[in-house]
Amino acid sequence: MLFRLPFSDPAGWSFRKAIIVGLVVLHSAWIVVHLNLVSRDLINPWKLSGYGMYTIPHPNPVLHVFDSRFAGFEIPSDTYKAYDIVSQNRFFIFRCQPITVASLQVFLNDNPKFVGVPLRFIVTELKLLRDPIRPEREPHSILEIRWTGQTTFDYAGKICGELYHGKAELKS
């Protein structure tokens, strides 16, 4: 049994039918754009309405914060608030978007004990490796901040092979 295509009731056009056709076109076009963005590793395939879940393990990005004064010392994640910096960076679903200055300022306001402390932020992602097949958490993005005054700092980072840097100031 078949529908009459493209619509069961092909008689004429109406406002509602135009909306429906528009939504289908928009949805289909977005899926193509999503595929393109995924193919260039720019977004997390599990998110943003592209239906790429279960194609790779969920990258599950995690933010790690290190105190640069002590080599390799990762600050325990239960000793600081990180939700705001993670949510302001859209949970890192845009994989090549640098950590924003505004989110750094929010992080430092949320955790005033880190003002004046040189910090290193590393975002890791779960990746599917081969030979042999295995999941492994790998660094994806890195950012360092160095204080130049009581409320001013320089930052420099690397993401998707691109370097970026700048100056910023604490905002209350």
Binding site: L2, L5, K47, S49, Y51, Y54, R130
Partner: protein, 280 residues
């Protein structure tokens, strides 16, 4: 039911996955029941974020639960269905858009499909809405298959091999098919399963777009979706798909299937894997 001389006992009506409509009976209530199941799946998806005691007062949680029950019940009635769907969409879209970047594809599919019902006074009688769901689900199936081909992890069996050895309780159900050497080079069975899943999605997508409306097709796809949900230990998306298919095929959802879906959503709150571990 007779099959070449054999008498096959017929299931009671209330156990049929597809509603058995008697002459003169309104099929609309079964179609509205399907949308109710879709809304329920969305509610369950958002639930964990809404019942955190540290975020919300218990009074809010109870008020939300009562409101949800009333809205869902109203969505089932002929008189208030449209307004109930509209109320649901207002709250859902507000919550959804607040954290859009963290939302799963399940939530996005609901955004693309459920609010469109509001366009029609009696959406359950509208072939246009059913057509929209059918075409949308067809596009989604093709899109999902394209993502799998693009990732390159299905046709060569990599993802099934990965799940078989590093997945949760249900995800590793196909581990027995191959030795641990499949991690170095995926075995034939894992390649077959990965390829089968991709071809199945393409096939279903094309059949939906072509407008095939056979009940056998619907029943087989419902079975496949339930199996996929069990495998991936994720029932919300599958229940939403099943419910939308029931509307797209214009047959609605039987009471039996609704109860199964609701039970699966409840179990899914903690995960099917954990449920199996608890029972076994």
């Amino acid at each position: 039911m007779n099959v070449r001389g054999l008498t096959v006992p017929r299931l009671p009506d209330y156990l049929m996955p597809v509603p058995v409509v008697k002459a003169g009976e309104d099929i609309g209530k079964y179609i509205r029941l399907a949308l109710m199941a879709a809304m329920l799946s969305v509610g369950f998806e958002q639930l964990p974020g809404l019942i955190k005691p540290e975020t919300f007062h218990w009074f809010f949680t109870i008020a939300l639960a009562i409101g949800a029950v009333i809205t869902l019940a109203a969505a089932w009635t002929e008189k208030y269905s449209r307004i109930a769907v509209a109320v649901f969409c207002v709250f859902y879209l507000y919550d959804f858009l607040d954290g859009w970047s963290a939302q799963a594809n399940h939530g996005w599919l609901a955004v693309w499909t459920i609010p469109v019902a509001i366009l029609f006074a009696k959406w359950w009688e509208q072939p246009l809405y059913a057509d929209y769901l059918r075409i949308t689900l067809g596009v989604v199936m093709i899109g999902a298959a394209s993502q799998k081909i693009l990732a390159g992890t299905y046709l060569d069996g990599t993802y099934i091999a990965y799940l078989s050895h590093f997945g949760s309780t249900t995800e590793n159900m196909f581990r027995f098919l191959c030795s641990v050497d499949t991690l170095n080079s995926p075995c034939g069975w894992h390649k077959f399963l990965g390829t089968f899943i991709v071809l199945w999605q393409i096939g279903v997508g094309l059949l939906l777009l072509a407008g095939v409306r056979s009940l056998v097709f619907l029943a087989v796809e419902i079975g496949f979706l339930l199996g996929a949900g069990l495998f991936a230990d994720e029932m919300n998306f599958q229940v939403l798909n099943i419910a939308l298919l029931c509307i797209a095929f214009r047959v609605g959802m039987s009471y039996a299937l609704f109860i199964v879906c609701a039970a699966l959503l409840l179990i899914d709150l903690h995960g099917i894997g954990r449920f199996i571990e608890y029972v076994i």
